[in-house]
Structure formats: structure tokens, C-alpha cells
């Protein structure tokens, strides 16, 4: 099978509110495509030429455009963005917050199988078209709507609040210490976001004291023990990565040693309803064994271990999901995640930094874009293009992108050959 190379990509500024700018999908996607094409030095003429040979395709990740912007059929929508996409195969992929990853998976598969030489993957979501309560209800569709979301205000903070509760219960943790650990996770993500010029929260204030002040005005409780500071915030944005075959790199006379490859992936689906997850994992070591398995699958496929991974991008939709990810990655034993948090292992300058970009909490979480944004950040780090949030000597990076209450679990490992 073909190896899959990453040519580069582009992320929009997650601080932007496209509705306030009076702009919609076409503007968002046009800027994204232009940004990506400029950064990797590809022209629209080249797309037209490649398409004549049926060697290029588009893969669109999006969760809920039908609700947020009343638009479906998002694959062909790309023809509204640029006429160079007329005739180019293009489809939309959906797996809630892991929509970007499932689009990536399809693109990677098509390069591996030699069907296409160039795969343009775009994840996007416009979420600031509605108020937060309405948006919360839309997002409820990523859970079992009738049981877990219908008629419930902000269902997801409540589900990840339950994860926090169950984590404490399963590992007999001291609740206050666990809450302090979550506050530290929040603080790290906000701090990292300050280094990222595309981060939504780069001008926002957060520190451990504020994150530890749960239940006060400006840090209201949102679900169980979680507060606003534990949550990623509503974000507009898009991210694009362009994948290609070795053949394409050679034919376009690019220097192959400059481009990283996809080294491994893992994908596992868990029981949909959160209660069922907890019931099923009752006697397991890991609270979310399906997440752990997706990580293991990626390590195995890449023939790499934790020692080979220099940094992680994880799905911190809530601090409780990042807490769980620490052991899923293998950084600590399950139930001992606090060791990595308290000792500084996951800090920006720690030995296993998590979310140097700021993650979903710091950088932002335009739902359908997040998987692609993480993947782009892996690319940036391993090619030394992460600017102020560059991790020194980053050779391999791993990402974990989850959909729903860790129902869809996607991992990728990206690194230089």
C-alpha cells in the first residue's frame, strides 16, 4: 500500500465570529482553501489538471451544518467555493466531534489504495449562528438524543460531568485533588493557547485560581463538578490538510524528506449511551477501554510506543476527557493520571506535552474542524512550523479525537520518516 504524505494545510483564526462579520460557509471555505493552497504552493490549475486524470478528491468533515447554517450536501458545496472543484469527487463525513478524523480516514484510505494522488481534507463548523442554549441542543444529537439530550439544557457538560464523577468513583480519587487536577489542565490549555496566533482564547484570561474557583460568578457550574473553566467554548472555524502520494511528491519535484507521513491510526466505537459505557467498563482497568484500544491500535500500526511520541494533541472538550486521555495514551497507569498533571509531565515544557496548541479549551472547538485541526498541528510540530508553540525536537506526535461521549474514538500518529 502507498504511504500517505502530508503536504501541509491551513487553519482559520478561531477567534473570528463569522456571523458577526456577515459571512457564511462560502467565505469560510474560500479563505480556508486559499490559505491551504498558498501555504503548500498548489494552484487551482493544478487541481483541474489532476482532476482530468481523476487523481484528486475532497473530503469534508462537518457535524451539524443542517442545524447551524441550514445546509446539507456539503461535499458538492465545494463547487460554490471554487470552480476548480467542478467534477472533483467530494463528500461529507460525519462522526460528531470526530467528523474531521473520519474525513481524514477516508482520504488516507484513498491515497493508500492509489485511487487518488491528492486528497484535500477540510473540517469545518460555524456555531455562532445561534445562542449557546440552542447550540447545546444541536450538539445533543451527538449523544442518544431522546435519552441523554432532549429537553436537557447543555447535555454534554452534564455527560462529561458524569465522566468526572465516575472517574473519581472508579479510582477512589480524592474529589478535591481531582478538581485541582482539572483546573491545572484548564490552565495549561489556556496558557498554551496564548502562544497560538490562531487560538480563540489568546486574549482571554484564565489561571489556576480562577479555574479552581468553581461555582462563582464568571465560573458557573455547568454539570456535576464541572464549571465553565472546564469546558471548551463555542467556536467558528475550519482547518484543512492536504495529503498526497509519494508519486505526487516525486512528479512535482518536491523534496520528499521535508514531508511527514501518517504512521498509524486507530478507530474504535464504544457503546453509544454513556450509562452503557460505564456499565460495560465496570470490571475493566480503563474507564473508557474503547478509547484506550484506539490508542493501542495506532501504536501497533505505527510500530511505535509511548517512548517514540514527543507530544500529544487530545480532545479536551472538557477537562475530564483530557484527564482520561492521559492514561489512554499510556503516560500513566489508569487511576494515576494525577501524577502526570502534578509533576508537570504534560506541561508545554514537560516530557510528554499535551495540547501545545491550546487544544479544544485553548485553541477552540469548531466541532467538525477539530480532528483536522489536531492533525494539522501534528504536521506543524513535526515539520518545525508551529511558531511560538513549537515543541523542541518533535519527531512524532499522536492525536486523539473523540465524538460524542467518547463514542467514536480516533487516533493518528504523524511523524517524519
Amino acid at each position: 500500500m502507498n504511504e500517505v504524505y502530508i503536504l501541509g494545510g491551513y487553519q482559520t483564526d478561531f477567534e473570528r465570529n463569522w456571523s458577526k462579520e456577515g459571512k457564511g460557509i462560502v467565505a469560510l471555505l474560500k479563505e480556508t482553501v486559499k490559505g491551504a493552497f498558498d501555504s503548500i504552493d498548489i494552484t487551482r490549475e493544478e487541481i483541474i489538471k489532476l482532476n482530468k486524470k481523476n487523481k484528486v478528491a475532497l473530503f469534508i468533515g462537518n457535524f451539524a451544518a443542517e442545524y447551524y447554517v441550514s445546509q446539507g450536501h456539503l461535499g458538492p458545496l465545494m463547487t460554490e467555493v471554487d470552480e476548480c472543484f467542478y467534477g472533483v469527487p467530494s463528500a461529507r463525513y460525519e462522526a460528531a466531534c470526530a467528523s474531521g478524523s473520519v474525513a481524514l480516514d477516508a482520504a488516507i484510505t484513498k491515497i493508500k489504495s492509489d485511487d487518488y494522488d491528492l486528497a484535500i481534507v477540510i473540517g469545518w463548523e460555524l456555531m455562532k449562528t445561534v445562542d449557546s442554549k440552542t447550540g447545546g441542543d444541536f450538539l445533543g444529537r451527538a449523544a442518544i438524543y431522546d435519552i441523554e439530550a432532549k429537553g436537557i439544557d447543555f447535555p454534554f457538560p452534564k455527560l462529561f460531568g458524569k465522566l468526572a464523577e465516575e472517574t473519581i468513583k472508579k479510582y477512589h480519587l480524592d474529589e478535591e485533588r481531582y478538581k485541582r487536577n482539572l483546573a491545572k489542565i484548564s490552565d495549561i490549555n489556556y496558557k498554551n493557547g496564548k502562544r497560538n496566533k490562531n487560538a480563540q482564547t489568546r486574549k482571554w484570561f484564565m489561571n489556576e485560581e480562577q479555574a479552581n474557583s468553581r461555582g462563582i460568578k464568571t465560573n458557573d457550574n455547568v454539570g456535576s463538578i464541572l464549571s465553565v473553566s472546564d469546558c471548551s467554548q463555542v467556536t467558528d472555524g475550519a482547518a484543512c490538510v492536504v495529503l498526497c502520494s509519494k508519486n505526487y511528491i516525486v512528479e512535482t519535484s518536491r523534496n520528499i524528506s521535508k514531508f511527514p507521513v501518517v504512521k498509524g491510526f486507530g478507530c474504535r466505537v464504544a457503546p453509544f449511551e454513556f450509562e452503557k459505557k460505564i456499565k460495560e467498563s465496570m470490571d475493566e482497568k480503563y474507564i473508557l477501554p474503547w478509547t484506550r484500544q484506539a490508542v493501542l491500535d495506532a501504536y501497533n500500526r505505527a510500530e511505535l510506543t509511548l517512548d517514540d511520541i514527543d507530544f500529544f494533541e487530545t480532545h479536551d472538550c472538557f477537562t475530564s476527557s483530557e484527564y482520561m486521555a492521559i492514561s489512554a495514551f499510556g503516560i500513566t497507569e489508569p487511576g494515576k493520571e494525577y501524577e502526570a498533571i502534578e509533576s508537570g509531565i504534560i506541561d508545554f515544557d514537560g516530557t510528554k506535552p499535551i495540547n501545545p496548541s491550546g487544544g479544544l479549551i485553548g485553541c477552540g472547538h469548531p466541532v467538525g474542524a477539530s480532528g483536522v485541526r489536531m492533525f494539522l498541528d501534528l504536521y506543524k510540530q513535526v515539520t518545525g512550523q508551529a511558531g511560538k508553540y513549537q515543541i523542541e525536537n518533535a519527531k512524532n506526535g499522536m492525536m486523539l479525537n473523540i465524538g460524542g461521549s467518547a463514542t467514536t474514538n480516533y487516533c493518528y500518529i504523524v511523524g517524519m520518516k
Binding site: 483564526d13 473570528r16 458577526k20 462579520e21 456577515g22 459571512k23 457564511g24 462560502v26 467565505a27 469560510l28 474560500k30 479563505e31 486559499k34 496564548k194 489568546r202 486574549k203 482571554w204 484570561f205 484564565m206 489561571n207 485560581e209 480562577q210 479552581n212 474557583s213 462563582i216 460568578k217 464568571t218 465560573n219
Partner: protein, 428 residues
């Protein structure tokens, strides 16, 4: 010491900007902050506002309400004293003399003026303290507007200024420019040039509709969050008047007359119609909707639904992120309104470059000033949007402005600010 600012005193900390600056030091700076006002109640309510302004109630643990009786003690404990009292030499001089008397340790002394002369205020200080005193101009609201203009006096050493600049950038996440001690410094000088010209043009075109006519021509689609006259109304006409009068009185250049406050605005101020803060001014908001002041009739009326085809077409292009195409439409249209729009944008470019050259350490600082202080599209971005320097020269020619001040600086621009997209709104 500068990178280890632990205690800050804000004198006049109950003012609109003072309390928010207290919030910035207490949050990002992690400082212990004393808010000093005339009464303890005022200081206490400022703490609440400071915490809300940075959306972090936890910082209330580090802010303490004080009165002028506590001044000396606060000063002596402080690593930085920030004066934020009324913009009046008499009032400010009194405070600075007090500060001078109380400070004999290493301490940054800053004034938060937006217009008064730093060199003039520095006269309140002893030779030793003169070296510690400088201007530090934040923009409102500082949580969203990250610009901070540092204005050295003639007595500061450059290392001192650079250390403070670094602190503001690294610790407080400010976008800092060093500005000369000139009227209006940089951002207000450029911004209020544009705003006041809009007021002047409203009078000039009063028979076409005046205020809402000009605001409609220079709406959000020209690279701002709010049309200019609505902005002045929001800022407050008294504040607007004080700023432009100060610049008019203290400058002598080709653009001086752009700072003459029109008579109708003076009349509105005299009648306490100061703008949004009192409910009426250039606009008036009532339960029945929004009304606009008609300069011809001296009465408020409903805003007119102006439609300009060039504007509609440009906005349609911006909606599709075709920014250059949209600016081509503005550039090539021959209507009176498109000419007015073009003239304003060209003057804005030229005046920004002029002030950048004259009042900043480098011309491109005018871009930081306008994007981070006003949220307006920066001048060099506009040059790119219009198609580059040569196109600007063509536009100037078509408007008979090829000899205007600032044209000579076009060739000094080396690099364009590339991220202009977010400033160009696809709406009125």
C-alpha cells in the same frame, strides 16, 4: 524589577478605564492592586467592575479598595503607580505632585492620559523621579482592545522603556507601540482624524441626509465594527470634542483643519446631547427605535434606508470572501457616494502613514495602532486590498490628491499586513 511587578496602585481607579486597567494588572499581571478613589464605596464598586471586565471573579481576592487617605501607604508599597484621573492638567498635576513626594524607591510611574503632554506632566517630578515617569495609554475596553501606547518623556532611558514594553507584551499580552509625545499620540490621532472628518462631511452633505448618509457610505464594510459617526456617538461627544480640540490647538500641519469640531456638534454638546451614554446625541435610541439627528432641521428623524449599488455589490463579494473584487467595485464606481468612500479611505491610508512616520518608531506601527486600538482595517492592508501602491497612486490621481501629504511615504512601505479579512465586514 520591571519583570517582577507585584503591587500596583491605580489612582482614579473608579474611572471607566481605570477599573478595567486594574482588572488587567490583577489578572494577567497577577498583581496585588490598590484601587484608589474619592470614597471607599466607589473603590469597592470598581473592584466588582474590574473582575467582570476580565470575566474572572477570582481576581477580587487581589484587589483592595482604598481612598485618597491611603495614598501614601499604597504608593510606598507599589512597584507601579498608574494615574487614571480626569483629563485635566490641574487635577493630574495635583496627583503627580503627591506621587512625587511619596516615591523614593524603584517604581514605575505612569499616567493614563489619552491626550495631555507627557513632558508637561513630567514637570511635577524631581530629577530622579522624572526618569521613572511615562505615559501608558490603554484602550477601552482593554480586555478586547490590546493596544497600549507607551509614551516616553524626554527623561526616560531607552532601556527602561524597552523593559516596560517587554513586560506589557509578555505579562499583560498587550500589543505595544512606542509613541512620541505628540497630541493624540498615534491611534487617537489617526482614529479621530477619520471620525471628525466624517462629522465634517455630514455637515457638508447635510442636504443628502447628513449623519446617516455618511455613516451609510462608511459602514462596517469599509473595515470597522461600527460606522464612524455612530462610533463618536458611542465614545461620547464631549470626549470626542476634547480629543479633537486638543489636536487642533496643538498641531500645525496639512491636516489641522480636519480636527475642527463642527458647530452642530458643539451645539449638541452644549445641550448635553453627548451620545449613547445619555441616550441622545448624533443618534437617539427610544422605545420606538433608533433616530438620527438631522443637521438641516435640528431634529431627530428615522434613519433613511440608503441603497448604493456599489456598496451592495461590494458587500456581496465580501460575503464570498472576494475581498479584492469588492474593493475593485468601490474603486471603479463613479457615483458620488463611492467617491466619498474612496476619498475617506485614501485619506485614512495617507494620514496613517504620515502619523506612523512622524509619531512612531516605524511606519508600520500605525497598523498595530489601528487594528489593536480601534479594530479598524490597517492602512497597509487597505493598500493591498486596493491592488497595491501603484493603484493607490492612480486612485489619488483620480481624486486629485496625488500631491497630498503621505503620498511620498507609499514607497517606504515594505511589507503588507496580510490578515485583513476579519476587518472587512460583509454588512452595512
Amino acid at each position: 524589577m520591571i519583570n517582577d511587578i507585584k503591587t500596583v496602585t491605580i489612582v482614579g481607579g473608579n474611572g471607566v478605564l481605570g477599573k478595567k486597567i486594574a482588572g488587567i494588572f490583577a489578572s494577567f499581571g497577577g498583581c496585588k492592586v490598590y484601587i484608589v478613589s474619592r470614597t471607599i464605596e466607589k473603590s469597592e464598586s470598581a473592584i466588582e467592575a474590574a473582575a467582570l471586565s476580565v470575566k474572572a471573579y477570582s481576581i477580587k481576592n487581589h484587589i483592595f479598595a482604598k481612598t485618597y487617605d491611603d495614598l501614601e501607604k499604597c504608593f510606598q508599597e507599589s512597584d507601579l503607580v498608574f494615574e487614571s484621573v480626569t483629563e485635566d492638567y490641574v487635577i493630574k498635576n495635583e496627583i503627580h505632585q503627591l506621587i512625587n513626594k511619596s516615591i523614593d524607591h524603584e517604581c514605575i510611574i505612569a499616567t493614563g492620559t489619552s491626550g495631555l503632554s507627557i513632558n508637561e506632566l513630567s514637570k511635577n517630578y524631581s530629577d530622579i523621579n522624572k526618569k521613572k515617569f511615562l505615559g501608558m495609554h490603554f484602550f477601552n475596553p482593554p480586555y478586547n482592545m490590546t493596544l497600549c501606547e507607551l509614551i516616553p518623556s524626554r527623561y526616560n532611558e531607552s532601556d527602561y522603556i524597552n523593559d516596560i514594553k517587554n513586560y506589557l507584551e509578555r505579562q499583560l499580552y498587550r500589543d505595544v507601540i512606542i509613541a512620541k509625545d505628540e497630541p493624540g499620540f498615534v491611534a487617537n490621532r489617526i482614529g479621530f482624524f477619520f471620525l471628525n472628518e466624517a462629522l465634517i462631511y455630514a455637515e457638508k452633505y447635510k442636504s443628502n441626509g447628513g449623519i446617516d448618509y455618511i455613516d451609510s457610505i462608511l459602514g462596517k464594510y469599509t473595515g470597522r465594527n461600527m460606522p464612524p459617526i455612530a462610533t463618536s456617538d458611542y465614545v461620547g461627544l464631549d470626549v470626542h470634542g476634547a480629543i479633537v480640540n486638543n489636536i487642533y490647538d496643538n498641531t500645525e500641519d496639512d491636516y489641522k483643519n480636519s480636527f475642527i469640531l463642527p458647530e452642530y456638534v458643539n451645539e449638541l454638546i452644549a445641550n448635553n446631547k453627548l451620545g449613547v451614554k445619555v441616550g441622545e446625541g448624533l443618534y437617539k435610541k427610544t422605545d420606538n427605535g433608533l433616530f438620527v439627528y438631522d443637521i438641516e432641521t435640528n431634529e431627530y428623524r428615522e434613519p433613511r434606508p440608503y441603497r448604493f449599488s456599489f456598496k451592495d455589490q461590494a458587500i456581496a463579494e465580501f460575503k464570498k470572501a472576494n475581498y479584492i473584487k469588492g474593493f475593485d467595485i468601490i474603486k471603479n464606481n463613479k457615483s458620488l457616494e463611492s467617491r466619498i468612500c474612496l476619498e475617506f479611505l485614501l485619506k485614512y491610508i495617507l494620514y496613517s502613514l504620515t502619523i506612523g512616520k512622524q509619531n512612531c518608531t516605524k511606519i508600520s506601527d500605525c497598523d498595530i495602532a489601528m487594528s489593536c486600538g480601534f479594530n479598524w482595517v490597517p492602512a497597509t492592508s487597505l493598500i493591498e486590498l486596493f491592488g497595491g501602491k501603484e493603484e493607490i497612486k492612480n486612485i489619488a490621481k483620480s481624486l486629485h490628491m496625488e500631491k497630498a501629504k503621505g503620498m511620498e511615504l507609499l514607497d517606504e512601505i515594505k511589507q503588507y499586513e496580510l490578515n485583513y479579512e476579519k476587518y472587512i465586514k460583509a454588512s452595512n
